[in-house]
Each structure stands twice: as structure tokens, then as C-alpha cells.
Symmetry: D2
Subunit: 362 residues, 4 copies
């Protein structure tokens, strides 16, 4: 465990925020899969910061180089090494807070975990920047899945109290699924999107930040995929989703809402749709007993507000062991849930591709 | 993956609800740990059905036999095999529904998963009965953890709309943590417990069932345990928690609530408590960057309502591929979240013990 | 690691020699595979002791019960639990040597490993008896492989200095492969078999024992299976083969012999045999770069002589920490390589089935 | 599996011989370990080619860059990415043989494995060059082990028919263990070394190559480390050793020799050496039941002769499916066992460090 993940696929992520480079090795891909590099870069660009006021103005290039496993834009079947060299790092922004625990960050826990030897500049290995190689790896997985008729898409379904329209749980179409990802701000309802951006901007002007919820769906999975118990689709997805920083909860289908329902309300009646078994509602989120039902896979991810805020905070100097106040000066996303949308898609695509490879479907 | 789980500990669960026996093999335990068998049986009895109207009246004995790895009530260090022989199984209750998909159950998905070869009597390998060996294995883990000062406890924090008092997130004491488990109905507030039982009984009288939420806490973890990314405590816990049937969501600390907050509200200020770094609030649930902060680990699990209800339901015959109606006659828990409480404790104890063993702490 | 093994298949072996039962859980089998129980018992009988003077006269029944995962002699796809209850155990034979390290045994190392808490009666978890569930699990794998045209067979290719004829490395036929397993004494040449039995009997009459070599082959693997580096067929086979007690070496193809050759002697020339690429010789043992070439997979396993001998031996009392002499009185195989033949077949069948399942071929 | 390995340590190797770079990610190292970079480069230089006539005259720099996980020459505890950029690659040497299967190479099997999509230039991912990152990773492990009193060393114990003196199996000292690695030609007996080099030179002048055997030892392991069955030290070592190209066999202690002995000859008598239990001989190679005995760990690795030889060979064009002759023109080691010596040390160091970390010793 730790920074490695997977069963048939093996993903190993490396790097520190202000080190010479970050990246990933992705082992276990099938051979002969064409990778559309423009599409891949467009996908990674969705995670890149600096596009508008809702994200940090840093200009990370986040341009991944592929050092192995891809020849003439086609997978060789051997491990793919993705390298992103660090270009725009201003350690000065961070070093002043070196011994002060930023509330909500892993500085303090990481200090104990690594007995003080971790490279904590810019969050080090815990930095959100480490999702860049995750997104690049997941972008490859997304393209392979899409070729086999499986589509993964997500949207920002809530920012603070403002909610986007939900995905249609029963009749979700590929167009609706992929629509938010094609927009600068990844929502279904542009009106709600405007309200969200206003809310985020209000937080930013208060030197504050905002939490959010990402809803993700997977279309095209045939029934019968997954494993019982610890190999369920929920176990597989959550094992990688909780690797995304700031992820505080994952719920499938009706999720915590189903805990408030009666069985007669929560059960989804089956019916025959021609030759296919379907359910009239989809509170089960496309998963029963850990295994796909053929209905859309649906889940939501709770993202906490960006912990780095521009207000003075009470904290401690964990080296000198005394109370302190902290004013973080760096540049930070006011709502990291926005850029988490492609991260959730990427992680989910990796989990689903791993499942399909393990199941012998691909 | 599938019915096997773990890193340093390896848990392998086997069995079908109506087969000759169910059980588990737990490999990787430390040697020389005394197991109090009375305490272990008392713990497994918390999961056993038939205690009152809130659970199914079947009299499963669920008495685990230990076939290996334990000599004179002390762990040998070798794999422990736990065997529970099936005694009270009435296949007749189920066989009539053999080809009808019970809504909310894994009949249909399991049928596809195993191409019709699964033993689906009584839910087969997907049955809630399979949590019995999980609880027995987890009971061993709980005793070992307790000896090293780590305590795991849970309570039913909601049944339908009725909520129990929450655990004190900041100053949770061992007594409060273990109180619900010592009671016939596992709640903190006995008044709320009475309301919950009334609500469950109302559902039962309507031939219906009720969902619920289990809150779990871990006390005594020092700061600095866990791993970044995919080895975070959240990843570890959710990888086993989603193996409990009917689990639809897991959230840590403030969870989905934190998605509605601003950073200034959600960040937990640090302060020095003598030599110790603590936080004044605990919305982070004791985990930052996947790693323990020294504050109580806190999380909640959403359990859907028991899918087996006594009302007529619309469904399909998935073999003959036609619509059908179904009336389930068996005996079922009206609120499986009640018996899920020790399951959550057991799964969490296994995950935390695995973490401590992997970390070289035990 | 430890007593668990596998990738797509997960095998977990449990039990102590003189405990209530030994067994295994085998997870990850495909569903719908018919198991011929008579054939399976005949296979496990090949490992059972007591058949003639070359093996121990104990009458272990070693009759496996299948507690789960098999319904009407057909795999369900869920974990198979194999249980062998202990019937003929005479602890008295062993307890006298409790604190004396039997040379060549794991008593002393196991004592340290488990800090004195291991159940060492009869060798405990280190006993050769633990190969009984391995053979039962492997017998299932063998039948599944055979259905898909992959055959695994082995023979005793040396006992002490006496050598059997080798398998034909290039034109090995299924009949030759399976012939030794059909005989009471598993060799190709009955004349050499008689000489081996004489040699073993001579050792036994001297209260001594004899080492041996098991040669194993796999037929029917298409080219292109396996993985580079650590996923090579050699890595996969050796990861389970060294789990057989007394295994001291594994070599593939020409093995240690190839270390004495020049490249021009060791390289196997390719040629076209109709549509198929084959090699004129097979010093590579059917594996190049960890991946099958389509030629027979060939390897040899070195088995040390049974360490329990009837002669007085110099040793120590590792509890009282003093020198001692030891006379082992129990009944033991004079040449455990004989009964290791089906163990090697079983372990190899599991490794190859795991590979085929991982590769998506089955 | 495949190009990833490990339990507590996770090693993931990537790259193709003629691609932009090769390397490895090593996750799970303890934090705070100082790495002597000069010593590390000196170790990797032992594997580098071009030092004399016994190895290929190519001038690979093989200079590893450390992109992450090391700060100021000290491990952070986070994943270490090792990158070796390719500098001296002459694809022209290889492309002519693109469709011709080089006997003894993985061209043909790799072609099937990757359905023709692999990057086969220079052997691609199967190239011996991929041992460069293995050696760099293992060099880190060696330094950490050494700090805790565990030393790993190896020598070329045979080249063709010429044998070096063996390590002293009972009284092996650190000086003897590390002596071969300090020499340009890694042997104990300089006289035998001269004979080996002559023999290798004779093979080279015949446009031929030579096989060899590497003997490796581990000193300083306390008794009681390792796991039973599949977690034995033999399983652990062989799982990584067979990842070294051209490895055809691994034997522990007396190995295949013990198969020719009687028990009375092969058993190692125990005796008390002061407070310590030791054995008078060490045919068991320091391992009993998979677990360390406290005596030196000893094993030998059979390396086949370099398959690339300068003689015309019979082969096939596996794309056009016709017989062909092949004359390999590139530059190749006449005896790859020489450069395999540090590879065996590196792989063994990783396996032993992984064991110590898993055991909670480090």
C-alpha cells in the first residue's frame, strides 16, 4: 500500500511538490491501444490550474512526458512512465511556514509519519499537484474504456450549498455524462454553474474557501462485473478515490439518503426492457452485492474546502512545540472540488479498467 | 481481490448461507496474544440474530470453532481458521424465489457474475450470514488492539430519521466509546434508542424495513500512522467496510457535511495540550493526508434498509426473462443497521490492526 | 505473504499437524467447472502416506471435505474451503523431543519465529501434512486446466544417485507426461523405479533417508503467456514451489546445466513446423523472458532427504540452551521426494491456472 | 505482477532499451536513511558495461537521477523515482533483425505476449539494460541493510566449467563476503578469476558466449525471520531473482546436491556456541522451514550463456512465418554472469530489506 495501487493494473505515483519531478508508473495496460495525445492533454488540462478565478493563478504546465510503454502513440503493454517536470515552483511562498502546522493539511501528520525527514515544501508528497500524474494515467484508462463502450464522466454537483442538477440516474445518456467535462466549469446546469462561481468568488474575496461534491457515473458496464465482499465495485472505487486529497466521503446510489428510507422506498423494482433486465429507479447506483447490475454506476464524493485560506489561523509550531498564529500567503484554489472533477473521473476510470482487465473482459 | 482482504493480515472468508459451513482464515496475527474466549463469544453474540423484535427470529448459533492457529487460548502466529457450521437453515423459504430477482439483493447480479452456477440459496455467498466469520475475526483483532491501548467502538447513530447522540468528536472517552456495545440496543441515548426501536417496529408491522447509520470511532492511535495516497486510513477502512452487505456510503470526520462548509469553518485549529498537539474541533475525523493526527478517528457508515420486505414487489424472472411479482416470505431483520454495528467494529478493528502490524508498531 | 499465495487465485492454507483440522481456502476459481470427485480423491491419494515401504506407515485418511464453493460437484465461483480433519495423530511420538531441535527441521527457527507460542507438535504448521490441502486445491486446478487442454505431470527423476529417464523435452506427449502419475511409484522407467526403491529401502534399513529430484512439465500452454520481470513463469512457479517443505532448488530447462554451456550450445534454434514456431531443442524449458514459447514447460525441483531419521543426532535443547543428543522415534518417509511428486504437480497446476486466469485466457 | 514486485517495499520497473529512459519507483523505504551517493554510484558502476573485454564495449552511462523521495541524500520515506536516460543507443544494430527471432531471446515470446505492439528495439522491456534501475534500487537497500548489520555479497562462482572457491558456508566473514565486489572481476580466488577470464575470452574469440553461476550470501540475519510456506526466504528471494534476465535456476544451501545425499549426510548438527545456537555445517543454507536459522544465508543462481552470439544461427521470421538464418552484429557481453553479480546482490538486498520491514525489525 501507500502510493501504489491496483490489482491487474499497478499504479505507482511518485514525487514531491517542489522536487525535480512528479509522475507515475502504470503497469498492466493492454498492448495495442491507441492513445489520442491531443485528447489526453485536453483531459489533463481540465485539472490544470490557472484557468479562471475559481482556481489558483499558478501556471503549472503539467505537461506529461511518456518515457516508456508507448510507441507511436500506441501502448506497448509494458509499464508506462509518466513524468511531469516541475517548472513553476516558488518555495519562498512556503518555507516561512515550515514548522507551523497548516490546519487541515498533512504537515503535522506527515512530520510524524516520516519523523521529520519528509520533503514538506509545498505539501511535498501530499500536495494536490500529485493528482496531475493520476489524471494523466486515468486519461489513458478513459480512452481505452471508451473504445470498449464504457464511459466515465463527472460533474461538480455541489459547491457549498449550491447544487447542480443531478445526473439522470435511470436514463443517463453518454451526451449528458460527458457534457460537464466539455465545459470550462464542469456542471450540467449553466445557471447553477454561475451561482456556484459567484459563491466561490464570494468565499475567495473573504480570503476563504468552499467545499463541494463531485458526482460521477459510469455507463456501459454490462451486468455481472465485480466481486463479492472486498472485491465489490464500491471497495475498488473507494480504494483509489480516497487517494485524492481532501476526499472526506464516498457514497453509492442513494448513499446516506438510503439510510433514511424504508425498504419499500429504497428497493428498485426490476422489469424487462425487451431482453434486458433493468430497474425503474436506480437508488442502488448500479451495484448490488458489489456487482454491476447494468444500470448506470453512480456515486458522489465529498470534497472538503481548500484548507489553505488567507485568514489568520490558530495553530502550533510542531517542532518548537508552542502555540502560534499562521497567515498563509500562497496562491490557492478557493474551491478544490472544481479541479477534483477530472481527478475523480481519472481515478474511477483506473478502477473500472482494472476491474475489466481482472475480469478478463478486456 | 474478492473474498480475500488485507496487507499484513490476510483475511479469506468462505461459505454459502445454506452450505455445510461458513468461516474465515485469518493469517498474519502476531504470536502469543491471549484470546479471552468468553469475551470473543460475547462479541459475536452482538451480531447474532433473534435477540428481540428488531432482528430476525432465526436462531443461528453462529458459534465459531477455531480449527488452527490458537492453542490454549493463545495465538500461535500461524493462520487461524474459524468455522461456523450451519445448523438452522430452511432452504424451503428461499427456493420458491429461485429465479425471481429479489429487489435490492444480489440474486440477479450474482447470477450473471457466476453464470448461473452460484449457490444462491439464502443469498449464498452474498448472505449477511457471511458477516459472522468477519465478526469472529474482528473480535480477535479488537482484543489485541485493546491490549495495546487502541479501542474500537460503534453505535447506531441513526435509524431512519431518528438520530442518536453523536460520539464526542474531541473528548471521546473509552467509557463512552464502549457503552453502546454493552447494551442490548447499541446507542448512546437510551431515549433515542427507544424511539428508534419504535420506528423499526412500525416499519416491521408494515412488512417494511428501515435504513440506518453506524458511527464508529477508534481511540488510542498515536499521530503519524497511515500512508499517503492509496494507503491512507480512509482507503484502508473503506476497503473492508464496503465488504459489509448493504453498506452504501462511508464518510470521515465531517464527511459530506464538510462539503457545505467554508475552509474557515472546516479547518480544525491546532493547539498545544501540554506536550501534545491537539485540535480544538475534530472535523477532520482524526485523519489528515491519510495519516492519524492523534485525535479520535471518526467515521459514519450508511446502511440501506433491509431489502427483504414482506410486501409484494415488482420484479423479473431473470431466467425465463419475464416480468413477475414477488412476495418474500422468509424472516428478516427489519433494520439490519442494528446488527451491522458489531460488523463495523470488527471490520474496523481488522483494518486498524493491519495498519499497526504493517507500520511495525505491533 | 506467509501461508497465503496467489494473484487472481488466492490460496490460504491453515492448520497444525496435530490440531483439530488442516485445510485451505481457494478463492478466485471460475464458476461452472465440473469437478470429478473420484478423480480428485485419486489424485490426493497419490500424496497420502502408507502405501508401501517407501513411505511412512501412518494411515492418514487425508479425506478432504468441501465446505463451500462447490455445489453438485460444480464450482460456484465463490471460495472453496477444503477441510481435512485430523484422525491419526499420536502426539506421544513427538512430545519427548519438544525442546530438542530436530536437525533439518523448522523446530528451532519456528520457535524463534513465533517466540515459543507455535504449536510444534508433529511439526505444527511446518509439517509435511500441510501439503494435503495444497494437493486437494491443486487437484481442482489440474482438472480445470485439463479441460482447456493444459496438462501438468511430474515424475521422480532422481532418488539419491539413481536417475529416471527424463521427459522428452521436445516431443513430450500427454501419455508420457501422465504415465508416472498413474503408477504406484511415479517414474517413467520401471527398471529405474525398482532401483530407486531398492536404494530407498537400503537407506531405510540404515535408519536413514534419501533425497531426490522431481521433474515436472506443463503441456498445452500457447506461446505468449506470462509477464516480463517479476511476473515470469519462473517467478510464478517458484513462488509456490518453495512452499513445499524440503524444496532446496528449482531450475528451468537446462537450468544449472546451461551455466556450463556456451551460447552456441545452449541456444535453441527456431524453425517453422507448418504454421507453428517451434525449437529443435528445448534447453530454454519452454520459457523465454518469463513468457511461454509454446514448447513444453520443463523444470526440476531438488528435494532434500527426509530430515527425520532413526539415527542418534547431535543437537541442542534450544530452551534450556545446552547441547544434547536426539533419537527420533516416529515413523517417517525414507524419501519424501516420492510423495512430493503430486505436491509439485498440484503447486504447478495452481500457478499455471492463476496465470491463465490473470491473462484472461480462462 | 509483471514489472512490479514486493510486499512492504513496492518496486516498479519501467522502460525500453531504446526508449527515452528507463527507471524504477521504489516505494516503502523507511524515512531518514542516509544514502552515500558515491558508494551508490560505485555499486551501479559494477553493473555498467564497457570495463574490459569480458563485457560489451558500449559506454552506457547508466547514471541514475533521483527525482523524488530523497532530499539532501536522505530518504524522505516517500517513493524514490530513479531515472536513467538513454544516451548511447544505436537502433541500427537491431532493427535489421526486427522480424527474426533471436534464439534464446524474448523477441518471439514478447511478440506474442504483446501482439506485436511491444517496442522490441534492443530487446525493449526485456533488455538486460533494465537491470540498471534494479541495481540502483538494490544499492539503496544494501546501504540500509548494512547500517543494521546485514551484509549482502556475491561472486562469480563458476564461468563455464571453471569454478571459483565457494564462500565459507559456516564461518563466512564480512571481509570475505565483500571482497569479490571490491575487485574488477568479482571472484574470491584471483587465480581462478584469471582462468575464467581466459575461458570467457576464448568464447568471445569464437564469436560465442559462456554461462555461469553466481553465489550469494547474506550475513547478519538473526534467527526467526521469514514466514512459513509461501512466505519463506526462498520464495521471497526467488520471486525477485527470476526477474533477472537469463536466470535459469536458484538453489539454497546444498541445493541440488542435497538431493543426492542421505539424511545423515545432509542434516546439519546443532550445537551451542556460548549463548547462540549454531550448526556445525550449513547445508541448509541458513534457512529451515522458510525461516532464518542465524547461519549465513547461501544460494546459487544459474545464468545461461548470453544468447546474442556472433555466429550464424537458424531461426524463423515470426512475422512472415518462414525459416531464416540470423547473424547478430551488435556488441554483447560474452558472459553476462559477470555483470549479473551486482544484479543478484541488488535483488537479494531488496528481498531481505522487504522481509525486515515486513517483520517489523526495521
Amino acid at each position: 500500500m501507500s502510493s501504489s495501487w491496483g490489482n491487474k493494473l499497478k499504479l505507482s505515483i511518485f514525487g514531491e511538490s517542489h522536487g525535480p519531478g512528479i509522475g507515475a508508473v502504470l503497469d498492466g495496460l493492454p498492448a495495442g491501444e491507441h492513445i489520442d495525445m491531443d485528447e489526453l492533454l485536453a483531459f489533463t488540462a481540465r485539472r490544470a490550474p490557472g484557468k479562471d478565478l475559481t482556481s489558483t493563478p499558478r501556471r503549472e504546465q503539467d505537461l506529461p512526458r511518456f518515457l516508456s510503454g508507448i510507441l507511436e502513440d500506441t501502448t506497448c503493454g509494458t509499464p508506462v512512465c509518466i513524468l511531469i517536470e516541475n517548472t513553476d515552483t516558488r518555495s519562498g511562498d512556503y518555507q516561512r511556514t515550515a514548522a507551523l502546522a497548516r490546519p487541515g493539511h498533512a504537515d503535522f501528520t506527515g512530520y510524524f509519519r516520516y519523523q521529520g525527514y519528509g520533503d514538506i515544501r509545498g505539501g511535498g508528497h501530499f500536495s494536490g499537484r500529485l493528482t496531475a500524474p493520476l489524471v494523466a494515467a486515468g486519461g489513458i484508462a478513459k480512452q481505452i474504456l471508451s473504445r470498449y463502450g464504457v464511459e466515465v464522466g463527472a460533474h461538480l454537483c455541489a459547491a457549498g450549498e449550491i447544487q447542480d442538477d443531478p445526473f439522470d440516474p435511470v436514463n443517463l445518456k453518454k451526451e449528458e455524462l460527458l457534457l460537464p467535462g466539455s465545459r470550462p466549469f464542469p456542471v450540467l446546469s449553466e445557471e447553477r454553474g454561475r451561482q456556484m462561481r459567484d459563491e466561490i468568488e464570494r468565499a475567495r474575496l473573504c480570503c476563504d474557501s468552499l467545499g463541494g461534491v463531485v458526482e460521477c457515473a459510469v455507463l456501459g458496464l454490462p451486468p455481472g462485473l465485480g466481486d463479492p465482499m472486498f472485491g465489490g465495485i464500491e471497495n475498488r472505487l473507494s480504494s483509489i478515490l480516497f487517494g485524492i486529497p481532501a476526499m472526506k466521503g464516498v457514497e453509492f446510489g442513494e448513499g446516506f439518503g438510503s439510510a433514511r428510507l424504508r425498504g419499500s422506498q429504497n428497493n428498485d423494482p426490476f422489469y424487462m426492457d425487451g431482453e434486458w433486465v433493468r430497474t425503474r429507479t436506480n437508488r442502488h447506483g448500479g451495484i448490488l452485492g458489489g456487482i454491476s447490475s447494468g444500470m448506470p454506476i453512480l456515486f458522489r464524493c465529498a470534497m472538503k474546502p481548500t484548507p489553505s485560506i488567507g485568514q489568520e489561523q490558530q495553530t502550533v509550531d510542531y517542532i518548537q512545540k508552542k502555540d502560534a498564529t499562521l497567515l498563509i500567503k500562497g496562491r490557492h484554489d478557493p474551491c478544490l472540488a472544481v479541479r477534483a472533477v477530472p481527478c475523480v473521473e481519472a481515478a474511477s476510470a483506473l478502477a473500472i479498467l482494472d476491474l475489466l482487465l481482472e475480469s478478463g473482459v478486456l
